[in-house]
Structure formats: C-alpha cells, structure tokens
Amino acid sequence: MAEFLMPSLGSDMKEGTLLEWRVKPGDRVKRRDVIAVVDTDKAAIEVEVFEEGIVEALLVQPGEKVPVGTVLAVIRTEAVEISTGEAAAGRLPGAPPAEAVPPLPPGAEAAPAPRVFRAPSAPPSTPGERVRASPYARRLAAEHSIDLGLLHGTGPEGTVRAADVQLAMAVTAEAPAPEAPVKGPPHGEATEPVAPAAPTRERPAGRDQAAAMRRAIAAAMARSKREIPHYYLQTKIDMSRTLRWLEAENLKRSIKERLLPVVPLIRAVAMALQEVPELNGYWIDDRHEVREAINIGFAISLRQGGLIVPAILGADLMSVDELMEALRDLITRTRAGGLRGSELTEATISVTSLGDLGVETVFGVIYPPQVALVGFGRITEQPWAENGMLAVRPVLSATLSADHRATDGRRGAQFLDALNRHLQEPSKL
C-alpha cells in the first residue's frame, strides 16, 4: 500500500485545499498520472502520483483544507493486496485525525460538503473527468462548493472561467432549483444535505486570493533574504548575432511557430549550465546538491498580480522549437489553470526576464532552495567598442544572483561567460 500525501508545492507551503479528484476508488494509476487538483496559496495545481497501482480509497473530500503530509488517498500497489473493507470505511489508522487540522485564519473556513449546481441538461461530472478551469474559477467553485464539472465553460476550449462560476453562484443564490439534488462527497459516506449558502459578498474571493499569493511570495522571498547570502554578477552581451539569427529563423516560420526572443536565452542558459553545473541544484540542510536534470523555472507574471515560477522540465534536452512549445504550454497553463505539481517543485534554477518593459538590469532574489537565478533586462541599442572600433549594437544585460554558500564568484563568472559565448554562436543553440 502506498499513501498519497498532500504535497508541499513550495518551500513555504503549510497546507493545501483539495479541489478535485481525477480518479475514483478502483481506478488504475501509473507513475506521473495526475490524480488530484490541489489549491495552494498561489494557484490550482495538478498533482501527480508516483506509484503504480489501484486507487484504494480517497480519504479527503474536495473542499477540505489539510496540512502538508496528510494522507489524501491510499494506492494499492501491485505487490501487496489487502482487504478493502478497512480502507473504504473512511480514514485509515495513521491518517491525521480531523482535529489535527490547524485552525484556519478567520474567513477562510473550509468549504462545506460539496453542493451541486446542476445546469439544465448538463452532463453529470465524474471524478476522473478533466475539467478545464481557470485557477480563480477553481477557487471560487471550491469556496462555494460548486461542481466545476456541471458548469458550461465559456472560455477558450470550454475552459470554465470565474464569470461562469459567479453566474452559477448567482443562480443558486437567487433560486435554488427544487430539483437540484444535493449530494454528499462522491465517494465518502452520505452526508446531511447542506442548505445553499449565499456567497459571501463582503469578502470577495479575488482579494483573498491576491492576499494569499502575496503571503506565499512574502514567505519565500523573506526566507531567501534571511538565509541566502546572495552575490550578484552582471555582464553585457552583444545580441546582434542572436537577433539576426532569430529574425532569419522566424522568417522561415509561420506566425504560430515564431520564437520569442527569450527562447534562445533559455536555451543558452541550459547550455551554460552544462558547463557550470554547480549553479543547477539546491542548498538543503547545509549541503550543496547539484542536480543532473536541468529544469529551468521561468517567472511568469499573472494579470491579477503576483507571479508563478513553473519549471520547463529537462530544458537542456530541448531544441529551440521544443522550448518555445514548452514555454507556450507553460504560460498558457499558468494563466488558465493546469500546472502540475512537479512543475512547481522540480525547478533547479530560475530565469526571470523583465525585458518587456524598460528595465535594463534585473537583480534577482533566489527562490529557495535553489542556488541561482538568471535575470535578463531589455535589449537596447548601445554604443559598443570592439577591436578599437565603436559601433551601435543591441545589448542585453544578463545578471546572475547566486548563493555564496554553494558557489563562489569565479563559478558565477564562468557561467555568464559561457552564456555570452553561446549567444555569439546562435546557429549552435
């Protein structure tokens, strides 16, 4: 038997809300299958399982907020078969009792047992079904116990948007349809019907979400500045070769396949890390852990404020086209919902690009337990002296913030030097 636990999806995550099960008892799962959606302070995250087997029991219901490490489900692995009676009866021995859940902050009460909003002729949802929804829509739905699977999504590809959930909230609050069934948790014991609760208008969920996001960023960044002795290096890189190459490459491509300027930069970071692997990894328990896989966290800002830094997993193994595809996919899912747990926890270094605005140089704060962050500013035309000649070139300021416990300035300098070298030979990117 294996226990599927509430994961820690960030260095400072203490608890999470189960939003949705994608499996039901009896389903077969394999490694890396997404089996649940968990709401952290930052976003709704798809969580993968790392065992092969059969789902024995789901112990936590959608809407429940539980501490990190709580057993959410039991997976019967192939090797051991046990009687199903005990597990199906409810929480297993060893699972934290309900009282262990720490008191929630005022106004953040756990959602009541799911209340179902049934749209006319909408198909019933099944727990294994994948519902596309924006993170805000998921949060609203969880807070108001509305089943996302029963809503008609009006976003791209039927994605459920916050407005759809708000519409459902308004409809149920105004006129709870008499035939609207109130059902208990899908696979738990039967619960008492719950009277429809009016949405709490005085406490808009959007503000709570923004506040939670700020708290999550605050905790991680305060820890970084408290624990990590940063050192900072900056170099100016002549981007004329890379930009010429990019222009030529994009001329060959349809508009849909065009590369963003940040793609060759990420590719060059991945290549430079192969030469200076010390910057790729973690500082954990007074030890430097260099990682082999190069998973580049890319800072993505959100329109509603805040940012998320999901990882491009195995970035060093990707071509520029694959990187562009991965980046497009990652940005889309960061903004519309559907990030996976591994993408939030397995970044081995971070890259932040503020070049869209007028910023010339980024002095980044490392995301613990990582040991480095690469910052890119805007590419600007600057006077450039080379071989005794003065010219005007497009110039990029690249910075490295690194953990001085893990590396010294010389390693950092070697990294920026390698980065520059790769950007002078774009055809080899």
Partner: protein, 81 residues
C-alpha cells in the same frame, strides 16, 4: 465599415487577453501594450489570433510599428481582403 469590423475584432481579441480591461476606452494613439499590460507572449498570441480572424500575416519586423489602435487599424485595413 471595414475599419469598424477590424476595430471590433481587435477589441474582441484584447478582451480575451485582458478580460478585466475595457479596450474600447483606449485612445487611438495610446500604446496598447502599456495601457493593458500585455507582455511579449500575449502580444505574440494577439498577432496569431489576428492572423486567424482576419487572414493577415504580420511579419515580425512590423511588430514595432503597431503599437496603437490607429496604427493597427490603418495597417490591417490596407491588407484585409
């Protein structure tokens, strides 16, 4: 007439990218990306969607001169079939 259709298409695409903003409130000569806080990824998506809606392929080299509603509508009106 053609300009009006183009403008409505632009508004529709901008609302998709920035649902909280009202693009019809933009001044003709206002920098759209700055006013609506649109990053390079969303800008690329905007041009992809313009291509899908209006059939106009905008070369990358022209991105820089398409910053305002006036510039966009003028550019597109001369190219829409």
């Amino acid at each position: 007439m053609k300009e009006e259709k183009i403008l409505q298409t632009i508004f529709k695409l901008l609302r998709r990218i920035a649902p909280e903003a009202d693009p019809s409130g933009l001044a003709p000569d206002e920098n759209i990306r700055r006013a609506l806080d649109i990053d390079s990824f969303d800008a690329l998506n905007f041009f992809i969607q313009l291509h899908e809606e209006l059939g106009v392929t905008i070369p990358e080299a022209d991105y820089g001169q398409l910053n305002t509603l006036a510039e966009l509508t003028r550019y597109l009106a001369s190219r829409v079939a």
